[in-house]
Symmetry: C2
Amino acid sequence: MAELSLPDLDPVSDRAVFRQIADHIRDAIERGSLPEGAKVPSEAQLMQHYGVARMTIRNALQVLQGEGLTVAEHGRGVFVRSRPPVRRLASDRFARRHREQGKAAFIAETEEAGAKPSVDSIEIKEVRPPVAVAEWLSISPDELVISRSRRYLIDGQPVETAVSYIPAEIARNTQIAEPNSGPGGIYARLEELGYRLDHFVEDVKARMPLRDEVRTLKLAPGVPVFQLIRTAYTVEGLPVEVCDTVMSSDAYVLSYELPAR
Amino acid sequence: MAELSLPDLDPVSDRAVFRQIADHIRDAIERGSLPEGAKVPSEAQLMQHYGVARMTIRNALQVLQGEGLTVAEHGRGVFVRSRPPVRRLASDRFARRHREQGKAAFIAETEEAGAKPSVDSIEIKEVRPPVAVAEWLSISPDELVISRSRRYLIDGQPVETAVSYIPAEIARNTQIAEPNSGPGGIYARLEELGYRLDHFVEDVKARMPLRDEVRTLKLAPGVPVFQLIRTAYTVEGLPVEVCDTVMSSDAYVLSYELPAR
DNA sequence: CCCGCAAACACGTATGTACGAGTTGAGGAG
DNA sequence: CTCCTCAACTCGTACATACGTGTTTGCGGG
């Protein structure tokens, strides 16, 4: 790696050696000396350059990996993470005019972007709701709900998991309780059943993924997830569905429009 | 820590030892055997329990810290992270009626929650905009903008930094270019200047914090940040302000209302 | 009884060693 | 020329050791 010149350590600094090294590499990435996809010098090369032990180098590399700046590939090296192009989720994605065109939001958006959407792991159960879900739906935790779990993929890559909860009173023996919820998705079905949707409330959190989520969404180290809790309300103010969605934060930008009124 | 019983290692598993140990502790946290704020057994105790080297224990603990589940406190121990009560940002926070009451959104919300809001590090400059900002404002990168940086604190704890950009053409020699932007904040001033605000578009990303952000927001390890880019549009569709906000993701839940239309 | 200080304890940083396992490319066999 | 093997390189895991620095606690002297 003669191409990349890293500074030497500052012997008087009280900053830990592994942090100084992480700083040097981070600077190189931010400067563009190490562009996306570039290979970071190997552990052995960095040991030689700085004259420190391997553990020190590994500590430094782990800092960068935790920041989501690099990924290590076993047997190949450490590389600057290249971020996939992000998808922007519009705030009108649940507008009725989209439903009336017969496609669920995810399918329509993805095809629009020229990619191939798919959905797998669809699982439908009638269960007692988690307490938080019962609260959002304003029902008793003893009332059963239909839960619809699924995973969304773009060009075969998993990008999002979601679980919807609908009171069983509403959804039982309807197409909502079928794996294929029909044209326009479950929101179209709810409206056919006479539940006129008025608005959704979407609560957005960000956090580090759980272990399962890392596996299911094939997340790189150092990538947080969005967790969205979306509740659908009818014009009467009745909550009829809660959807709990987890998505990789580096595949998405969420876009919302706020009225200035 | 006789209170907490951790399983033994599975000698036939091909899962790395440090991951198994991390799994055990994670399970204990999720089960509630290690409640919020509880002290995780010390490195020495875990070494003894599992009969492994300290580095192995430290690797395990680092996994959990990276997941945001624990924090290590030098000289004291490792503790289960307790999440502070979250603040919920309503989607009508920029409604005109709030501006007319003379308080900026942040101040009003925080006082409402019974906490003491403050703002520091206010810095106002006239600069050339970053290219991305110029694009959002639909101006040339050569046109100057007023940038207003500030940091928001709740009860003295920093929770959010923000930088607003307003075309200098609009804001020069107005109160917008003063540290104290007056009652109702800069949006009230813009409306007084004849820019009737119609709506905002807020783009939400989540990512791991940069080094500076960790320092400025006093972020715990394993806590991602939200980055919000909010653009204010007038009724004529003219973008008049862009605000780039970074906030700790564990102090906030963002809440948006979406029309079903 | 209280204060102060030292020991015990805890995590942080760093060195050195060893072996395992995935990837790659060069060189030799066919 | 092609294919295969193997060596070299790379990161992953784990052990042992040492010393630094911040925190807590308990003992002993005043």
